[in-house]
């Protein structure tokens, strides 16, 4: 039995310790907002927060995250900054198929949570690990810029 803290709730899970966090979240806890895209930390679809930092859950053995606070896309909507990001995503019509967007939003939110000064370069660094096959990059950039401006951290 492993003890996991996901979105503020403690779960006991009976899984092999080397099972990646992604599959525990999706198949055991049934939180399917976090997506599977590659399984090798190449696409970012599986991005969640571990103690506020973005991580690729597809390559994180679940035993290595016991005791840490995990946040998935389902767990962010209460936070005002997250709501701003989601709002900006809608205002800019970012999503196309939408499959990558949970991961995009988790990476963007981590950037906004973390940085007191954001510019295009910072966006590149924070978001380059998130692929979008629909190539919604232009709008992702605009949406992040928009939120950065509204919270006063945009510094081109």
């Amino acid at each position: 039995m492993l003890t996991l803290n996901v979105n503020g709730t403690t779960h006991q899970v009976d899984v092999p310790g080397d099972m990646p966090l992604l599959w525990v979240i999706r198949d055991i806890l049934k939180l399917t907002g976090t997506k599977f895209g590659c399984g090798i930390a190449q696409c970012g679809a599986c991005t969640v927060h571990m103690d506020g930092k973005p991580v690729r859950s597809c390559v994180l053995p679940v035993q290595s995250v016991a005791g840490q606070e995990i946040t998935t896309i389902e767990g962010i909507s209460e936070k005002p900054l997250a709501r701003k990001v989601q709002r900006a995503w809608l205002d800019h019509e970012v999503a196309q198929c939408g499959y990558c967007q949970s991961g995009q939003i988790m990476s963007a939110l981590a950037l906004l949570n973390d940085q007191t000064s954001i510019n295009d370069h910072a966006i590149d660094l924070a978001m380059a690990g998130n692929l979008c096959r629909c190539a919604t990059y232009t709008r992702i950039r605009e949406a992040i810029k928009d939120v950065s401006e509204s919270v006063g951290v945009w510094q081109p």
């Binding site: 899984v15 092999p16 099972m19 990646p20 599959w23 999706r26 198949d27 055991i28 049934k30 939180l31 399917t32 907002g33 976090t34 997506k35 599977f36 895209g37 590659c38 399984g39 090798i40 190449q42 696409c43 679809a45 998935t72 896309i73 389902e74 962010i76 909507s77 989601q86 995503w89 809608l90 019509e93 970012v94 999503a95 196309q96 198929c97 939408g98 499959y99 990558c100 967007q101 949970s102 939003i105 966006i123 590149d124 660094l125 978001m127 380059a128 690990g129 998130n130 692929l131 979008c132 096959r133 629909c134 190539a135 919604t136 990059y137 232009t138 709008r139 992702i140 950039r141």
Partner: protein, 732 residues
């Protein structure tokens, strides 16, 4: 066009049907969508009887607009949502004519029903080929208008007044003396009327919704993790399954040692099929681990001798042959003889994978008395048929529950993975969710064929082509999808655009030389044949302009004097990018133009050279004239995304074969454009009242040639083979 419209009106009047309101709890208006367009490649497939697409009416009730007693409008979408925003577009068309708000509309996925949902452009029930807006435009507006007229008539009868004195707005009918009544209260009465013969559609100048940047209906759940794709579904008693097919296409399983796999915690069953081994388990990770633990001995078969070099060589040989003549206009031989010069070039395009971000996935429950499929598919009718064929059930015993699609780009026009899922599910007693690993997905795609185009132009004294000969060699997607080529022996998809180039030519001869790769199956890739031919033609014309020492934009204009809409688009591009002012040193611009999927697109790329082979994309501009625009936000988004999708492939992508096996297994080896490399895409829409054109693939089709033309302008290097990185260039 006029004729077509008249036919359309007659046909739809005849075929409009009204359901039984009691059964559905409201007013039901359906449109049978009449054939209205020249036959497409897929249409010929159907006409030949190669693809039988029928399905009884029992389950379907049309591309319906249904007004409930609560005033909400159910719209049964004949088109699958894969991110292109089509369901919002369809809802806008209906809402506009029905005079309701977009927020009053609920969208449901259409069940398979060829009779009701056949795409008049594709001529089978499918979402693809950039036909959706074009196909739904008239019939769905008509369905909305019909419902509105019936409701107005019902209100007029309640008030004992003339319906001409009443009007509808916001889901209500308003009378001459200030009366008002909501649609919900009128549906029972309205449902008793015969359908009107004289449905009048709104004039574009009266639109208040169409043409406005409406918010997509499907996006709110895509930003909070609530949106469900096939891969996210869960059913009572369901297990996960994942499969490994023979690494060489056409190979078979010889024997399997599954002892270690059975010991993986969570693994339930090992299913061994002729060419596939699958593991079922309580979770996806256990499936993947179980597959890894299998010891499979394969019989790779004949394809294991094929490498990429073999495919290359076969195509090089093929373009020396004449193949089958797809079209011949004027006398190309005479033109070539009389020409003051000739110019020949060969263009090559690689195998490509679609690799949408959601790996192939399908939920199936096979029972003795029926089968349910929950799957995002572009072809629900084919999904139903394949399940029936595998299980021996009747098609009507197979229910298809279509789902949102996590990217398709053509992938879910194929149903190989559905067939596989049903084969596996037939061997077990519980529902399964098939989930492919990325590796399985990338190495068992069906690939955009590798092509070689050899073009030979007869050039006059001023440096303009009087005609050209265009040889196209490659595998036939059409034949693979449908079963065989048309009687002509020409793949209509492969030669699209090539047989009717936009440029004015006195003579033209196009050859199709079929050269099947055999080693991998071939299929549709975003942009399809339009993209492949546009690539060759736009590179070639650019070279001709260069050879003539002429500006590539004004050179094209000279050859396009007969195409005023194209000229307008070119002029708009020229003004947006200040084409006439010189670019700074070390920079170069390339462009490409096309009439594609009913739209006109001009794309311009500006590059700068960083050292000898470093490419920096400074600017990417595209101008689109797609006729009347339903939702400008969706048009822009599709042009941006489609262009970058094509750019990613043109820069980086190529599938290699070694020993019959696809070498690229995941995104590290089949890399995609990242945000740090993606230039902003400037999209300019030409205002237009023409019939709507497609935009889902239009941007994709133009970026490849624009990029290579820009490389030539920047580096003085004429690259004729995609992807660009193959020639040693890199993104700087």
């Amino acid at each position: 066009m006029k004729d077509q419209q008249v036919k359309l009106e007659m046909a739809s009047r005849r075929r409009f049907l009204k359901g039984i309101s009691a059964a559905l709890g409201g007013l039901v208006v359906g449109a049978w969508l009449p054939p209205m367009a020249p036959k497409s490649a897929a249409a010929e497939a159907v006409a030949q009887g190669k693809a039988s697409l029928g399905d009884s009416l029992a389950d379907g009730f049309g591309a319906f607009v249904r007004v409930g007693h609560d005033g909400r409008v159910a719209l049964i979408s004949p088109k699958a949502e894969m991110g292109q925003g089509i369901q919002t577009g369809i809802a806008m068309m209906v809402a506009e004519e029905l005079e309701v708000g977009l927020d009053q509309i609920d969208i449901q996925e259409a069940p398979p029903n060829a009779e009701l949902y056949t795409d008049a452009l594709l001529q089978f029930q499918a979402t693809g080929g950039s036909t959706s807006t074009r196909y739904t435009w008239e019939p769905l507006r008509r369905a909305g208008a019909t419902a509105r007229m019936l409701l107005v008539r019902a209100a007029a009868s309640v008030w004992e007044t003339d319906s001409n004195l009443c009007h509808a707005r916001d889901g209500k009918v308003f009378g001459p003396t200030g009366q008002k009544i909501s649609y919900g209260e009128l549906v029972d009465l309205a449902a008793t009327y015969a359908l009107p013969d004289d449905v009048i559609l709104k004039r574009p100048e009266d639109f208040h919704l169409i043409g406005t940047p409406a918010t997509r209906l499907d996006t709110p759940t895509k930003v909070n993790g609530q949106a469900k794709f096939t891969i996210d579904l869960d059913m009572p008693g369901m297990l996960i399954t994942s499969a490994r097919a023979c690494p060489v296409y056409g190979g078979k399983v010889r024997q399997v040692d599954d002892k270690a796999a059975r010991r993986v915690p969570g693994v339930r069953d090992i299913v061994i099929l002729e060419d596939v081994v699958a593991v079922t388990a309580t979770n996806t990770w256990a499936c993947f681990q179980g597959l890894k633990a299998l010891n499979i001995e394969w019989d790779y078969g004949a394809n294991s001798k094929i490498d990429s070099a073999v495919v290359d060589q076969k195509l090089q040989d093929a373009i020396q042959r004449d193949g089958v003549i797809a079209t011949e206009k004027g006398a190309i031989d005479a033109s070539l003889q009389a020409a003051s010069s000739k110019f020949e070039a060969v263009y090559e395009q690689p195998f490509l994978s679609r690799s949408p971000l959601e790996p192939m996935s399908c939920v199936v429950h096979v029972r003795d008395d029926g089968c349910d499929l929950w799957v995002g598919t572009q072809v629900p009718g084919f999904a139903q048929q394949t399940a029936a064929a595998v299980t021996g059930l009747k098609p009507e015993q197979v229910k298809v529950h279509n789902q949102w699609i996590g990217g398709a780009f053509g992938r879910r026009l194929d149903f190989d993975f559905i067939t596989q899922a049903v084969r596996i599910a037939s061997k077990v007693s519980y529902p399964v969710k098939l989930t492919w690993s990325r590796e399985e997905d990338m190495t068992h795609d069906l690939y955009r064929p590798q092509y070689a185009d050899r073009m030979t132009a007869a050039v006059n004294g001023e440096g303009f082509p009087v005609g050209w000969q265009h040889r196209i060699a490659g595998g036939s997607i059409f034949a693979r999808y449908v079963g065989s080529l048309p009687a002509s022996g020409v793949d209509p998809d492969a030669v699209e655009v090539a047989v009717d180039p936009i440029y004015k030519l006195d003579s033209l001869k196009v050859h199709f030389i079929r050269e099947e790769p055999e080693v991998v199956p071939v299929s549709w890739w975003r942009g399809v044949g339009v993209l492949r031919s546009t690539f060759a033609i736009e590179c070639f014309v650019d070279e001709l302009a260069h050879n003539a020492g002429k500006d590539p934009l004004s050179y094209r204009k000279t050859l396009l004097a007969h195409k005023p809409r194209v000229l307008t688009a070119l002029d708009l591009l020229a003004s947006k990018v200040a084409w006439d002012s010189p670019v700074p040193r070390g920079r170069g611009r390339g462009l490409a133009v096309g009439e594609v999927f009913g739209s006109i697109v001009v794309t311009m790329v500006e590059l700068s050279a960083i050292g000898e082979k470093g490419v920096r994309i400074e600017r990417l501009v595209t101008v689109v004239d797609c006729g009347l625009v339903t939702n400008p936000t969706s048009v822009k988004a599709q042009m941006e995304g489609g262009t970058l999708f094509g750019l990613s492939a043109a820069l980086f992508n190529e599938i290699d074969i070694k020993g019959g096996q696809v070498q690229q297994e995941n995104f590290h080896a089949y890399r995609q454009l990242r945000i740090s490399e993606a230039p902003p895409v400037e999209v300019h829409i030409v205002p237009s009242a023409e019939a709507p054109g497609g935009v889902g693939e239009a941007g994709t089709a133009l970026i490849g040639p624009a990029l290579l033309n820009a490389v030539n302008a920047t580096f003085g290097d004429r690259v004729r083979r995609l992807p660009l990185v193959r020639s040693g260039y890199f993104i700087a």
